[in-house]
Structure formats: C-alpha cells, structure tokens
C-alpha cells in the first residue's frame, strides 16, 4: 500500500494532451446522433468563427501569410508532416496524415465520418469575411491525409466555401 505525492507546476510540462482529439471525436458523434449531420458542421462553424476570429482578422490585414504561420504552428506542435506553398493569391497545403485522426485510431476509437468537418467547416468559417475561399481538394477519412487550397476570391462578393468530399 503506497502513499504518493506529486507536485507539478505548469512550466514543468508542455501543454499537449492528445486525448482531447478523442473527446472532440466523441462530441461530433453525439451531435450527429442527437441533431443530425448538419448540426456538426454548424457547431464547428460557430466555434471557428468565434475562436479563430483573430486569425480571420489577420488574414484580412496581412493576407495568406497569417494563415501560413497558423498552420505551421499547429502542425509543428502536433508533429504532423505538412507541405505548404504560398503566394499572395493562393496557399496550398498537403498533410501526409492528420495527427488527430492518427491519435484517435491509435487509442482504438472509431473516427467519426464527420471528422472531415474539422477541416472543411473550420477552414470555411475562418475564410468567411476574408478575401479568400477554402477548398478541400482531397481528403482520406482513414488517415486524414489531405490537400487543401485557399485562394483569393475572383470578385468582391464573398462566396460560400467550395468543398469536395
């Protein structure tokens, strides 16, 4: 019978709790079951519009460079392999595998078929109100491998985000 004590300060560790991906995945499953598939996209859109509002603002001011910086930060943190090409009018990025999908599978959980919305709905919402549109060119639900494109809209009207399954 043991007596144990552990004292940790925030600075003792790196903030990276990958099991949060599982919780989100289960959350998406619950929303779909209770309110339908459209509700999943709507929830993620609302979240992204609110939480990533500073990023959208930066994209309006500084263009795609702000998004590039965001993507580099996120994938470096999660140790995901990513290739980005970026010009003034277009950013294209390829993800070899999605670190979230990989972790969920590694833990033995099934990935929600709507996990794709964590790309499509989220980046679509980030682009709303900016001069850019998002396109999910390719997506593999098994690995989360994807090709995504952000490009400057052709006219001043803010189109809906174009996506492919």
């Amino acid at each position: 019978m043991k007596k144990l004590i552990m004292r940790r300060k925030a600075s003792d560790n790196v903030y990276l709790h990958r099991d949060f991906h599982n919780a989100l995945n289960i959350g998406l499953g619950y929303v779909e079951k209770r309110f339908g598939a459209n509700a999943v996209a709507e929830y993620l859109r609302r979240f992204a519009k609110s939480f990533y509002a500073p990023l959208s603002r930066q994209m309006r001011r500084r263009g795609l460079g702000a998004l590039k910086k965001h993507l580099q930060r996120v994938y470096a943190l999660e140790k995901g392999a990513i290739r980005i090409s970026c010009s003034r009018d277009e950013l294209r990025f390829k993800v070899k595998y999605c670190p979230a999908v990989r972790h969920i599978r590694k833990m033995g959980f099934e990935v929600s078929p709507l996990f794709i919305e964590t790309e499509r709905a989220v980046y679509g919402a980030i682009c709303e109100g900016t001069p850019f549109a998002h396109e999910l060119v390719r997506y593999d639900p098994t690995t989360g491998k994807s090709v995504q494109r952000f490009c400057r809209r052709q006219n001043k009207t803010l189109f809906a985000t174009k996506t492919h399954k």
């Binding site: 004590i5 990958r18 949060f20 959350g27 996120v74 033995g108």
Partner: protein, 150 residues
C-alpha cells in the same frame, strides 16, 4: 485540424451549442455519453484493475499532459486520492482568451463525468468548485468502507 491545444475552446462552445439546441438536458446527456464512451475505456479500466491507484494513474497522465499546476496525493491504505488544482489549465485558458465567452457552467463537466464512473464502483467523489472562477478546485475520492456500502 483543430489542434488539441485549441480543444478547450471547442469543448466550451460545444456545451453552449448543445444548451441552445436542447437545453441543459442535452448538455448533461452529452456528459453521460462522453463518460460512457470515453472514461469507461480509460479511467474505469484503470480503477477496475488497480483500485484507487487507478485514479492516480489516470490523472497522472492527463494532468501532466495538460501542463496543470497541481498537487496530487494518494494514500492507498486509507483509500484516499486527492487533487489540489492550483491552476486548472482548461479554466485558465478560458479566462485568458478574452475574445470568446466561456460556457458559464464549464467546470461542472468534471463533476459529472468522473462521478458517473467512480460512484458506482464504490467510491465517494467530492469536487469543490468554489474557487473555479480563479481556475482553482479540489477533488477528493474516497473508498467507501463495507459499512458505508451497506
């Protein structure tokens, strides 16, 4: 991809979304669902295998990965497990992000999720959230004695 470092904001927004769609019941139902589908495979398995030390093993991993500021104590013989959260990383992030409005009852999920697992397994679960507005809380899990159970 939503980075796991941004998850807390997504979680808080999910509670908000559920409450708007289905009221408090939808939020509570989700917490039950998450507890049954996630914690049953993690915390419950550990406690089943190791007794109260399962709590230590579960929170040792999560709190370190979440970079929490905490003191954790286990007295196996007395059947007591305690967490003193000096700064909860989730609540701290929610308080820090000024551009979003956190779900007002955010901290209640901790009371709901773990109680649902531990009480049926023969443990008392007490979570003190009186200082949650300062990202502090304390949790005590105690093993019920045979007399208590009767």
């Amino acid at each position: 991809m939503i980075s796991c470092t941004d998850f807390i904001a997504a979680y808080s927004e999910l509670f908000e979304f559920l409450e708007k769609r289905g009221g408090e019941k939808a939020v509570n139902d989700f917490w039950n669902y998450l507890s049954d589908h996630y914690l049953a495979k993690t915390l419950k398995r550990l406690v089943k295998k190791h007794g109260i030390r399962g709590c230590w093993l579960y929170w040792k991993q999560t709190l370190n990965e979440e970079a929490a500021d905490f003191t954790m104590e286990l007295d196996e013989a007395a059947g007591i497990f305690r967490i003193t959260m000096h700064r909860c990383p989730s609540k701290w992030h929610l308080l820090k992000w000024r551009h979003i409005k956190p779900y007002p009852e955010y901290c209640l999920h901790c009371d709901h999720l773990y109680r649902r697992i531990l009480e049926p397994m023969g443990y008392r679960y007490h979570l003190d959230l009186t200082e949650s507005g300062r990202a502090r809380c304390s949790l005590v899990v105690t093993r019920k004695s045979i007399k208590d159970k009767g």
